[in-house]
Amino acid sequence: MATDLQRVWRKLTWPWSPLSEREASEAIVRNLWLHWFPAKVSGRSLSWSYSLWLGTAAASLFVILTVTGVMLMFFYVPSTERAYGSIKDLQYAVSFGRVLRNQHRWSAEGMVALVFIHMARVFFTGAYRGSRVLNWLVGIALLLGTLMLSFTGYLLPWDQLAYWAITVGTNIASSAPLLGWTVQYLLLGGHFVGQQTLLRFYVLHVFFLPAVVWMLFAYHMWRVRKDGGLAAIEAVRAERRAEPKPMPRSKSYSLFGLTPGTSVAVMSSMGLEERDQVASSPNLTRRMILVFLAVFNVTLLLSLLFNAPLEGPANPAVTPNPAKAPWYFVWLQELVSSTTIHLGSFTISGGLIGGILVPGVLLAALILWPFFDRSPASAEGVWFARTRTRQNAVFTIISIGIIILIIVGLYLRGPYWHLYWPWSRRPVLPQVL
């Protein structure tokens, strides 16, 4: 009886306790889904405090987004006539439609935030050096992919916000030198925002961009493995290499044993010792499930508490006052508006400075940064290394600047794009009745 109960309990709880190292390794190697992980992983890489598991959290959000997105695709109609109504149906008529859309929306906004914070973590730990430069560049592409996914997704409900966000966004694109008009024409599928535009953004959002991001993400993960794991192990690796190794005792080695250091037989491929590593299954997989569950719970809780915003149906004749970009782009809108200069009856649009030049320079800086980083190798994989203080300060100041612009754009801009304190009274806009 007791053994029966034990067996049932084991079936219910589904424990995984490999009996040997080999069994643990095979669990990874033999599994299609797990075998992009190494069979063994350094304990340092698994720590909460080094990576904060931000990349895994962002990837979890992407999984949630893919699943909820596919489910939403069963209901959404990418037509200017039906798009808005199908979102309203999701909100009010479809079973779990509201929570599904909320979760998709909050996960998307969370992913933008987490991908950025993940990038900040990599920067502050100096983890983009050496062979990891390539993965830093892939990461930047993933950040851009995430932003483009958010922007294209934002437009699909075809509400006022969507319509005017496309209008503002593509107008900014058109202020780019040389190619501006072509880019705008390509994005809109014509000269005006219409059915062609919605269809283009829809295809980009549900097929093209997710496919690109999925492939880049897979490559990103594979590169982590090829680079030997997270940069946190570099310090351990250096330490282990410097450690004097005991002389091998076997007779056949005695000739070679005269030289100091380790032999092939005692040095693992990562330069790490047995004691630095644990089996990926179940240590890495368990933590991944844990992070995924935590992320899922947070997004579900948010979806139960807050509804994804939806404005009135798109109306080309009426611009919402003020028309604001989503928070992750509102800092650009703020830049565009504050660099727009009025000289008498002349207006010099800030579209080029705020919309193209500043983000372009920031992007170029991100791409080129690792190639100009002259800090010593000891700064690799360490949080806030002293030798990188100045670099970290520059990154922090720019990030804080962007956050301030976001706050100003999001909370201080009121009707007619005037500045208001959050507590000051804003003018009441006229109504029909």
Binding site: E21, G43, L46, E81, G85, K88, D89, Q91, Y92, A93, S95, F96, V99, D159, Q160, L161, E274, R275, Q277, V278, A279, P282, N283, R286, R287, I289, L290, L293, A294, F296, N297, L300, L301, L304, P309, L310, E311, G312, N315, A317, V318, P320, N321, V428, L429, P430, Q431, V432, L433
Partner: protein, 299 residues
């Protein structure tokens, strides 16, 4: 050594895994409960009892609780109001004194030409037909431009609810000279003729060209009006009322004469002007001019 580290990860993570799983199940249970506990369900239970109390036992037995809507793709209409407003078709059987949302719809003479299953609710009453919550349906939420024409909204405009609704009757009946049940707007239409508005204004291609074309004046965004000389509430309706009463005050230097219309005439005219919108109803819904009392033709 490796063994020990493995175990330390397990010890550290297991409690969290259990906690997160519990949170997960609780949240999923809440989501399931919220899917079931819709705001309309209690009203449907009550309606079943109301039917039984009225002696309609057979109907009460047949009444199934569930999501309801009036759907008419011709008008792009899915009015879920009837998920709560269950008594609308039961006039004559259920007492008119039944409190909302179960109150039967009053049996107005023109209702025979405007059956519920073709016109739904929002065609006349406005509001957000898609919504299944009272607030969503009545206010529509941020950015919703067609709030329900309620008694409160009517009171704020100093007209009756019926007069507000006449504005929406005129979406289809705009070419009628006079329509049954549209007393206020009928009066306004007479005023247009009597005050000779068409000498200066163009309405539907007819009239003078010295003043703005008013054919689709109702589509104009309220932000496009200049409220700097308007004393009352900042609404397009009130702008028109004050402008019709004293054009020189609202738009200094205007060529429009001061008509000094009595308030009820100014309000009726303002409602008529607001009803002039670009509405794409199918032709079978638009009555022929002068044939106001005839039913819309069946297809």
């Amino acid at each position: 050594m490796a063994e020990r580290q493995d175990q330390s990860f397990e010890r550290e993570d297991f409690a969290w895994l259990v906690a997160m799983s519990i949170v997960f199940f609780v949240l999923v249970a809440i989501a399931l409960w919220r899917e079931y506990a819709t705001p309309w369900r209690p009203w449907q239970h009550r309606f079943k009892r109301v039917l039984a109390q009225a002696g309609r036992f057979e109907d009460a037995r047949k009444f199934h609780s569930g999501f309801r809507q009036i759907w008419n793709p011709e008008l792009n209409l899915a009015d879920r109001c009837v998920s709560c407003h269950l008594g609308f078709e039961w006039g004559g059987i259920l007492p008119a004194s039944l409190p909302q949302p179960l109150t039967p719809h009053p049996a107005l003479s023109y209702m025979t030409h405007h059956p519920f299953e073709r016109f739904g609710c929002t065609t006349c009453h406005a509001g957000q037909g898609w919504a299944t919550t009272a607030r969503g349906a009545h206010d529509g939420g941020p950015g919703w431009e067609e709030p329900m024409l309620s008694k409160q909204l009517a009171a704020s405009c100093e007209v009756s609810e019926a007069e507000l609704i006449q504005m929406r009757c005129n979406f289809c009946h705009r070419r009628d000279v006079s329509t049954e049940g549209m007393d206020s707007l009928n009066m306004a239409k007479k005023l247009i003729k009597r005050r000779k508005c068409l000498i200066c204004h163009t309405i539907e291609g007819q009239g003078g060209h010295t003043a703005p074309d008013l054919t689709y004046e109702g589509d104009k965004s309220p932000e496009m009006f200049d409220f700097s000389h308007v004393t009352g509430p900042k609404t397009a309706f009130n702008w028109h009322v004050e402008h019709l009463t004293d054009a020189g005050k609202v738009s200094p230097g205007t060529a429009m004469p001061d008509y000094n219309l009595p308030p009820e005439q100014a309000r009726a005219l303002a409602l008529l002007i607001l009803s002039w919108r670009r509405i794409n109803y199918p032709p079978q819904y638009i009555p022929e001019a002068g044939a106001a009392s005839a039913a819309p033709r069946p297809r």
